[in-house]
Structure formats: structure tokens, C-alpha cells
């Protein structure tokens, strides 16, 4: 009797440590963030000193007036632009890395290593280096362009509204591109060679075999890559914060920088938690809709 009970409880007992870790590391902080969003608490107080705030932290979000602008920047510039560019360039590079020429010349290993370099550089170092490269008076890029006679005087890339977002996008794409390239390379390698051979036998040209063999096989990989990069970028704070801090004016403010300002400059952890909750909700909605759309497409095929 006892033995059979133990046997039936075995799956739960075995998964209990993992569930405990998940609960401790993920669930408790998330629940606390929700609680904090309904409280007033400064970073100098202990959690026990928090005061109930009701819905005030959420209603204040709309009265500040800066949030819609930051949300638009987050969705359009920070996320959409960089993800689209990374996917486009990443796919091109992945195809190039898998090309027969590189294989023939035995350059695939070297090429992959070179592509991985930006990813090996810590984000903070990459941003500091790029700030130096883009500097309006002493920057390497300006000196090169001036030396080549392309421009008469240095362009302060980070100090004018027409170039500041493109500069941030360049930094993000440069640093985060290798992840996309490597995952797509793995996806390309998983496509059986026989399928290309069969397509060739059926008379398919390069474009036809790309459309009928490569794209369908890459679709699940692309689904994951898009989901991961969107969530990762949408929540990213470091790139904008260390490059412009949300300036010029508030031209590059994003939700993550607004969260930080609310929590640590205005000393209102509750307001910061409310913005965090809003960001989580946006990403949760995106993930559900995106996965439903992509899975529906897959099923219909």
C-alpha cells in the first residue's frame, strides 16, 4: 500500500526541487512586483514600511504625459527597427556562412568566429567604444569620413535628433546580430541535403528551392528567434541608458528608462513596478498573439 502510494507520488517528489527553484527565483519576485505596483515605497525604506497606494501608481502613468512617447519609442525604434534589421542582415549572413564557396575555401570556421566577436564584447564595453567611435569631434568615424573627404566637419551623431536613434540602432544590431546569425545557421544546417537534391531532381531552381525547402524549414527557428529578440530588446535598458540616457530632450526615452527614473530618481519603487507590470503585460499579449498567429499559419500549411 505504502509502496504504491510512494510510486504514485514519485513524479511530484522528483519535480518538487525544480518547482521550488522556479517558485523561489521566478514566481516570488513576479508576485512581489505586482504587490509593489500597488504600494508607495522608496529605495531607502525596508519593504515593511510600504504604504498602500491603490491604483494611484497606474493612474499617475497616464497623467505624466511622457509614457506614450516612451512606449512608441520602445515599440518602433528600439524593438521593431532593430529586430527587422537583425533578421534581414542575420539571414543574409547565415546564408553566406553556409555558402559552398566558404566551405570550399575552408573559411567557415574563421568566418563564424569573426561574426561572434561582437557578442563576446560585454555590452557596456561595446557601448563605450561606440560612443567614442560616434563622437562628434574626436570620433574615429568622423575622422575617417573627414579624412576621405566625405564630410567637411564632424557629425555629432549622438547629439542631433536626426541621427541619434540610428546610432543606437547601429550599436544594438552590431552587438546582438551574432545570436540571430548563429541560430539561423543552426537552422540551415538542420535542413536535410536530400530535400535540396529532390527539389533539384524536380527541376527547382535556386529561388524555388529557397521558397519551398529553406523557408518552410526555417520557419520554426525564425518564430523562436523573433520571439526571443523582441522580448529581449523590448525590455532592454542598457543600450539607451548608457548611450543617451533617454536624451536628447526625451527623444530616446523608452519604457525601461522611464521605469528606472521613476524608481530611482523619483524614489518611487511602486511607480517603477507599475511600469514594469505594464511592460510585462504588453509582452505577454504580444507573445500570445504572435504564437497563435504563427502556429495557425503552420497548421494551415
Amino acid at each position: 500500500m505504502i509502496a504504491s502510494r510512494l510510486r504514485s507520488a514519485q513524479p511530484y517528489l522528483l519535480s518538487a526541487p525544480a518547482l521550488l527553484v522556479i517558485g523561489l527565483l521566478f514566481l516570488i519576485p513576479s508576485v512581489y512586483n505586482v504587490v509593489l505596483a500597488f504600494q508607495h515605497l522608496t529605495p531607502y525604506q525596508s519593504p515593511g514600511e510600504a504604504e498602500a497606494a491603490g491604483l494611484e501608481n497606474f493612474t499617475d502613468l497616464w497623467s505624466s504625459g511622457d509614457l506614450p512617447h516612451a512606449a512608441l519609442n520602445t515599440v518602433l525604434w528600439l524593438t521593431a527597427a532593430t529586430v527587422v534589421l537583425r533578421l534581414g542582415i542575420g539571414l543574409g549572413l547565415a546564408l553566406a556562412l553556409e555558402s559552398p564557396i566558404l566551405r570550399r575555401w575552408r573559411l567557415r570556421g574563421v568566418s563564424r568566429t569573426i561574426i561572434l566577436i561582437p557578442w563576446m564584447v560585454p555590452q557596456v564595453v561595446a557601448i563605450a567604444a561606440w560612443r567614442w567611435i560616434l563622437d562628434g569631434s574626436t570620433g574615429v568615424l568622423n575622422q575617417a569620413l573627414t579624412g576621405l573627404g566625405v564630410i567637411d566637419q564632424g557629425v555629432p551623431f549622438l547629439a542631433q535628433t536626426s541621427t541619434v536613434w540610428w546610432s543606437i540602432i547601429a550599436i544594438i544590431v552590431w552587438r546582438e546580430l551574432p545570436f540571430v546569425v548563429m541560430v539561423l545557421v543552426a537552422g540551415l544546417q538542420s535542413i536535410p541535403a536530400e530535400q535540396y537534391e529532390a527539389a533539384a531532381v524536380d527541376g527547382a531552381g535556386r529561388w524555388a528551392s529557397w521558397r519551398s525547402v529553406t523557408v518552410p524549414h526555417l520557419r520554426p527557428v525564425l518564430t523562436v528567434v523573433v520571439l526571443v529578440t523582441v522580448i529581449q530588446t523590448f525590455n532592454n535598458f542598457v543600450y539607451v541608458w548608457l548611450t543617451t540616457g533617454g536624451g536628447l530632450g526625451n527623444a530616446t526615452a523608452v519604457l525601461a528608462t522611464e521605469l528606472y527614473s521613476a524608481a530611482f530618481f523619483d524614489n518611487d519603487l511602486g511607480a517603477g513596478a507599475a511600469i514594469g507590470l505594464l511592460m510585462t503585460a504588453i509582452m505577454a499579449i504580444f507573445a500570445v498573439v504572435y504564437l497563435r498567429v504563427t502556429s495557425t499559419k503552420g497548421e494551415s500549411r
Binding site: 529605495p43 525596508s46 563622437d135 562628434g136 569631434s137 555629432p156 547629439a159 543617451t244 540616457g245 530618481f265
Partner: protein, 416 residues
Amino acid sequence: MRRRTMLAAGLAALPLAGCAGGRGEGRRVFRQFDPADQATGLAKAVKAWNTEHPDYTVTMETLSPNNPQQFAREANAGSGPDIAQLAFTDVSFMAEPRILTPLDRLMSSAPAEGQEDLLATDMTTYDRQSWAIPWTADTMALVFRPDVLEKSGVADTPEDWEELAEVSARITKDSGGDVSGFVFPAAAQYSSAQWFPINYYLWAHGSQLIRADGESWEVAVDEQQLADAMTYFNTFFTERITPAAMQAVTDYGDPSIVGALGEGSCAMTFMPPTAFRAARESIDAELMTAPMPCGLVDGATHLGGRALGINANCEEPEAAWAFVSHLLSPETFELYPQYPASAATLDRVDVDPSERGFTKQLPHAESFARYADAPITIASLQEQVNQQFSAVYSGQSEPEDASHKLLDALARGLEE
């Protein structure tokens, strides 16, 4: 098996042993936040203390940049360093939740040398109690290349803000645009150093951002005054006196500013003492300081600096106070190249002639107490001000619109 168990037990006990060692074996911690290369003199002062007091040795810990919220987290959890270096503006945040030890009893029972004539005590007092003791004092002085000024026939540094604009425009014009008359960091970030000259300008013109009115607070600047200040600083960019690239620079010690001083393509800028010394050592040309425009007018510049506080969790506050007294002593300032916050100790410190701009201005400077303890934090003020001024420089807003927005943000902050 037994060996494995022993090893596991040993590993599990390691953190506990660390904690016990942290307190029980006489390890006390003094945390400071200046970059390590600026704290070598301070490390010597701590070493001198440890040599003389083997019964109460102190370990100096550097956590740079300043992170008062980290101290608060630790103190609220019952730990943290015994003694902490604090920015003046952070003391009241620590005093309110009582995570510092009140110092009045210690100060009266064992007075530290020079504690009776300290500057900026208004920043370390909260609820009529002293929660920290002013330690070092600094301000921003005008930093200039005398040879570059001389080339344009400028014999004396500008005495007011209008003269600064006029002189720096002349220097830029005379050099055919090769020399920037006045260079200042003008980025939008909260940490952007433009916060200081903006306030100096407002104070010199009889206004300030906010003001305490008894128990309540009110906005103390009108739309026109703010718009005038924005127009004034924007002129440096529209007239190309300051390079546009400065709109992405936050720090007075930024390599682009120090480099331009070295090349002679920057005639004037502003810096605090530590940044000035670093710049002076890194370039070949002569650098001098002078008071900021209106710097000799009382209350037209800020008195910044550091304070020392004792953690509320400190188990030996009397011994910690003795250490604090050592750090306040003239002997420490012989090793530690900072200006003491004690006027008497300041008189005894040798000052390099190139730094006279600071020492002339310091007695006239006033702390940011005028903004402290308001419903809106000084960090929020910095963020709002820098953001709206930056919006004007970058052409996103007209001064009138930006000043209107800034006033709205200030009023909203004070309501909260």
C-alpha cells in the same frame, strides 16, 4: 562518502564563517565612493589609523560611483559598512528611515577637531538632529587656458554670465571658429553637469527652481526667467561657441573636454577640484581656475561635498566616531587632496595657486539645502531640468514651450 559529506558541510558553512569573520574578528568597514585613483591618499590615512589603533582596524571599501540605495538596502537588512561616505544630498534620505546613527551625543561627548565651524551642516541635519558630519567641500570653478585667453586679449576671466557669453563669443570669433570660447557638458541625462551652471545662472539672476514656504513648497521661478536661461545657454550652440557634440556629453572630465583643453581648442570650461587636478596632470599646457561668473556673490554657486555617517547597525559607534574624527583631522587632509568642510582646517591646508578659483569661491557657495527635503527629489529636478534644456539645444522645443513643460513638471512633482 564521508569526505564528500565533510566537503559539503564545509562549503555550506563558508558564508556563515564569512559573516562571523566580518564582525566577530574586529573587521570594520569604511565605504567610500570616489574612484580608486582619487582615493590613494585616503587609503594612506586609513592605513595610518590602523597602525595607531590595532584594536580597532578599519578596512576601506570602494564602491564607485556613489550608490546610496545599496547602502540603504544593506542597512535595512541589518548589515552594511560601519562608516560610510555620503553625498550631502543623500543624508536626509538615510535619516528619514533612521538607517544612520544620530551623531549629536557623540559630537558633544568627544568633539572632533574643527567640528564647530563646519560648512553645509544644513545638509546633514534632519529633524533637528545631526545624522552625518560634513567632511569635504567642493564647488565648480571656471577652468581656463591663460595663454588662449591672452591671445584674444582677455586679461581677466568674466565676472558675470553676460560677460562670459560676450568674452567666449569673441574668443571663438577671433580664432575663426578654431577655439571654443566656453565648453560645457549639455546632455539630457540626470547626471549631466549642465545642471550646475543652469542653477548658478538662475541664482545669480535672483531666482531658483523651488522654494520652501514654511511647511509647504512652491515653484520659485517663472516661465520668462526659465526661458531666458534656456535662450542664454542655447546661444552657445546657435553661435557655435560650444561644439554641438557637447550635447551628448554628461561629464565635466569627459575626454573630449580635457582633450580640447590640451589642444588649446577650448578656452574655458568648469570643473570641480578632483576633475581639475586630473585634467591638469594629463595635459602639457598651463591650466588655471577662477571663480565662476558671479562666483563671489553669496549663494550664487553651490557648495557640494561629502559627509561621513555611521550605520545604525554599527555595534561600536564610539569607536567608529573616533575613526570619523581621524578622517576629519588636518593630518588626514595632508594625505587626502580634498578641501575640508571645516573652515579652520581649510585655512591650514596648502592650496596650489592654480586652484585659487575654488578657495576664493568656497566661502560664498551655498549648499543645495534650498532644494533638499522637497516632495520632488534633487535627482528628479536634475532630470527634468537637463531634459528640457537639452530639448531646446536639439531644436525639439522652443524655450517658451520647454520652460512651460518644466514648470508643469515641477508643479506636479511638488504636488506629489
